[in-house]
């Protein structure tokens, strides 16, 4: 609480004393006003007024789809590669090669393949989120105490059931770590994907605001991303805890 309060204080002082002009650093009050208009205004009150729900909805859809695809591939592939040496050998080379390419350099290719819009953004988000999910799932599955698996086998659990009854619960802390990192990265790549000229989404707001010289709206966009990012992380953890005993009970 101390650091945000100090930043806010210094920010207000810098603005009112006139060290930085308002068009470069709008005051917190101006930003709150813009945020309010963005949230609850009518379209005739300015270019950004009232766009909130549409932008957030569209961005959530893109992040959600991309993150879902990344999990759908990353969790099973990661778990298999953590347990089956042959699969690890098959996958690790190519996955490390792809991972070595900075995510941003996929942007031009994605634009050519998918055009501007939903598909490109979802592709970028899915690609970026895949790696932390996959890598953490693999290391989590690899490190599962072998005695737990032996215990399961002697109590009559076959390997398919053992995967769901023992392997996944045992690896849960690391699966969660991977999913949370993946979701965090998803928001970063969402903004990247939406900077490419899509008409809506929080990234598009930031881009439009830059074109229009509206620093206040850039800041509203940034704060919004930060808030929704936090919130989605909390929801993810709460959801996992709701559905998995192990997520509730293991540190």
């Amino acid at each position: 609480m101390i650091i945000p309060a100090t930043v806010l204080g210094v920010w207000t002082v810098v603005g009112t004393v006139g060290i930085a002009p308002a068009y470069l650093l709008p005051s917190p009050v101006a930003i709150v006003k813009s945020a309010y208009l963005y949230f609850a205004g009518n379209p005739d009150q300015g270019p950004f007024a009232g766009r909130f729900f549409n932008d957030v909805g569209v961005s959530l859809l893109r992040v959600g789809l991309g993150f879902f695809l990344a999990s759908l591939l990353g969790l099973p592939l990661g778990i298999m590669s953590g347990r089956v040496p042959v699969i690890h050998q098959l996958l690790s080379g190519s996955i490390n090669a792809v991972r070595a390419v900075p995510g941003i350099s996929w942007l031009p290719l994605a634009l050519v393949w998918f055009g501007i819009g939903l598909k490109t953004t979802v592709f970028l988000v899915a690609l970026a989120a895949f790696f932390p999910i996959y890598l953490n799932a693999a290391s989590g599955a690899r490190q599962v105490n072998p005695i737990w698996l032996q215990s399961g086998a002697m109590m009559g659990v076959d390997s398919l059931r053992g995967t769901f009854l023992i392997l996944i619960p045992a690896a849960m802390p690391q699966l969660i770590t991977g999913l949370r990192l993946g979701l965090g990265i998803s928001w970063a790549y969402l903004v990247l994907g939406e900077l490419t000229g899509v008409p809506d989404g929080i990234g598009a707001v930031i881009m439009d605001a830059r074109m229009a010289g509206r620093i206040d709206m850039i800041m509203v966009g940034i704060i919004l991303i930060a808030l929704i990012g936090r919130l989605s992380d909390k929801l993810l953890v709460a959801g996992l805890r709701m559905f998995s005993k192990s997520a509730r009970r293991m540190k």
């Binding site: 032996q150 086998a153 002697m154 005993k245």
Partner: protein, 263 residues
């Protein structure tokens, strides 16, 4: 010396008409360290009869855990055969359950859920399962702790849960690998007494690995002594001390000394 001769008797030929609950024939285990073969077990053969409590004792590294893992089905013998009630052992199964040396409970399940785990795989009848779990919880004295997580209970209590979760499956053979080795002296004796009590009630065949001779003498019908490099059974001793056995009795000490001289 007369009573002693009666208590210690090498078991060369058993004449039981029964089928052995567990039989090992010419078992061997060879591991390879950087290409060089390491013969861990050589030519191990024995029969254990239903309801017997056998202790396997031997120096650290002689291959006790390796032998137990092969009986459990976790490890394939390099040579030889293992039969349980006449069936060859090929993979792990609830007819041969292990209580491990270290804590092997599922930390995301409560005491009760850990014990019910194997039963759930097997029985469709939920009510019967619950009753069986409650009964065994009572037998190991953990009823008040049924809803605790393993992290919240002591080492001795964890081993009780480990014992309960396999006893509830009514295994034909109970395999125990130095299960009380990590406990303090008092809990170890409590656990030994508890095991004997449960053995009296449920009569499972028990194959108990230890490196503690007193423990073996308290528990066993029969002690198999191993030596190492390569691991092999060097003597097989029937223990006929009357039960319940007093750890402080002269007979106990005499037997201890006599066996001690052999390894």
């Amino acid at each position: 010396m007369k009573p002693l001769l009666k208590t210690i008797r090498s078991v060369s030929v058993r004449t039981e008409s029964q089928l052995p609950a567990l039989s090992a024939r010419r078992l061997s285990a060879v591991f390879h360290n950087e290409g060089r073969p390491n013969i861990v077990l050589a030519d191990i053969s024995f029969d254990i009869f239903p309801g017997q409590l056998i202790c396997l004792i031997g120096p650290s590294g002689c291959g006790k855990t390796t032998l137990l893992s092969m009986i459990a089905g976790f490890l394939k013998p390099t040579g030889g055969e293992i039969h349980v009630n006449g069936r060859p052992v090929s993979r792990p199964g609830p007819d041969r359950c292990v209580v491990f040396q270290q804590d092997a409970l599922f930390p995301w399940l409560t005491v009760e859920e850990n014990i019910a785990f194997g039963l759930k795989r097997r029985s469709r009848n939920r009510k019967e399962s619950r009753q069986a779990v409650t009964r065994i919880l009572d037998l190991v004295g953990l009823l008040p702790f049924r809803n605790y997580l393993p992290d919240a209970i002591s080492g001795g209590m964890k081993q009780r849960v480990a014992l309960a979760r396999v006893l509830v499956l009514r295994p034909e053979i109970l395999l125990m690998d130095e299960p009380f080795g990590a406990l303090d002296a008092q809990s170890r004796e409590d656990m030994q007494d508890l095991l004997l009590e449960l053995w009296g009630k449920l009569k499972p065949t028990i194959f108990f690995v230890t490196h503690d001779l007193s423990e073996a003498i308290v528990l066993a019908d029969r002690i198999m002594l191993m030596d190492k490099a390569p691991g092999r059974i060097v003597s097989d001793i029937a223990v006929n001390l009357p039960r319940p056995r007093k750890r402080e009795s002269d007979q106990f000490h005499l037997l201890y000394k006599t066996i001690r001289q052999r390894f």
